[in-house]
């Protein structure tokens, strides 16, 4: 079974959101998603300063099998992309909730994060296939 940490928020398109103490959001893809993608070989992340709409396609993960779009969980502004992924895309497979994070952002409306799925809600999405 895939790992679904209890302290994160989720989107049914398989992104996770971690809210840091200062309100910064860290975005990544779930363990389920990385397992389904297979070995990741390239990651394209959004540039710092880019304005994102909720559910906007803003990153691409290319695995040996396929290219997959990654969507912004909430509206906001990109603060920083994970530069380490350029040389080590495999971080996304090895540590999807850790070193394999994709980008950091500030939400336009932080309350939007609370409306995302919790771990139980995301597990229900996975169980429904």
């Amino acid at each position: 079974m895939s790992n679904v940490p209890a302290d994160l928020k989720y989107v049914k398109s398989h992104e996770w959101v971690r809210k840091l103490a200062d309100g910064t959001l860290v975005i990544g893809v779930t363990d389920h998603a990385q397992d389904a993608l297979g070995d990741v070989v390239f990651v394209e992340t959004p540039a710092a300063g880019r304005k994102l709409a909720a559910e906007e396609s803003c990153a691409v993960v290319e695995s040996v099998k396929a290219a997959s779009d990654i969507y912004a969980p909430v509206a906001g502004t990109v603060l920083e992309a994970n530069a380490a992924l350029a040389d080590k895309p495999e971080l996304l497979n090895d540590a999807p909730y850790g070193e394999g994070w994709l980008w950091k952002m500030r939400a336009d409306d932080i309350a939007a994060v609370d409306r995302l799925l919790d771990a139980a809600g995301y597990e229900a999405v996975l169980a429904a296939g």
Binding site: V41, V60, E62, V64, K65
Partner: protein, 361 residues
Amino acid sequence: MLKKTALHDAHAALGAKLVDFAGWEMPVQYRSALDEHHAVRTACGMFDVSHMQAVDFSGARTADFLRHLLANDVAKLSAPGGARYTCLLNPEGGVIDDLIVTRRDGDAFRSVVNAGTADKDIAWFQTHAAAYGVTVKQRTDLGILAVQGPQARTLVVPHLPAALRERAFALKPFTAAWEGEWYVSRTGYTGEDGFELVLPHADIVALWNALLADGAMPCGLGARDSLRLEAGMNLYGNDMDETVSPLECGLGWTVAWVPEDRAFIGRAALEKQRASPPRRMVAVMLDGRGVLRAHMPVRDAAQRDVGQLSSGGFAPTLKQSIGFARVDAQASAPFEVEIRGRWLPLKQVKAPFVRNGKALV
């Protein structure tokens, strides 16, 4: 209901990801397709390819039969154990399948055909066999294991029947030896040294387990595809099919034009395009990030559509993307490929991309 090979339980026990491949439930990867790829380039990997079918031909006129059906010429195989890669063509010169044919004892030959084409191949063989008095036997009682990589032969030989070991180790590339129903050929689909073994189902499970204990890495169809692509080898259904001639997909070298009077099926059609085939295949690389995939559109510098990629993928040895493009014969480089809405430059190179663990491009 998907068909299962004798090794299906072994794959499941290893936690393989199983997919439908030509009606067979086959492992696409175990833990990591990249790790599996590198294991074959540097050490030893093994692939269950029992979905492919061994077909045995017998009868006094088998050589005449195969010289009529195959674009390569089995008359070149003077000694038992000699093998050739060849296309099986339709009368229009399109590729029904690509296969390896091996001369066995006396008048007998064996071929191994692709899983997705096995039924139509065998029907085609049967249609023509009667006129030559040839018996065509699909060997559903046998499985096939490919063991590939610089350490492959050393790992396999101790597990062969004693009477076969010395002969197997002495095999030259593209030759085969056998003892009873154990059949071993020094062939493969990876660009590395190694063996392909055809043997009874019970024996293939035992051999798999022995090689696993010796450290051979189980490899799935994902690694098989990236390895063959780096090795510059065609994939049936992608790089050629019944609408593509061998001259249009880089397989002109497998067509035996001499002797001129050998009237193999498809020859007349090939002769018509021999001087100038309508399309050609080029090996390409992508500088920079992104992954080439089959069916991506290709254009020339004047932005004219000239064809598409027939194969594409990430090359783990090169850490960049490679592929084959099938383009109009008149089209000239430089080419561009469309990846997710963007046109990116392709570099034309000479295949193979990788051989024996070394990058060649």
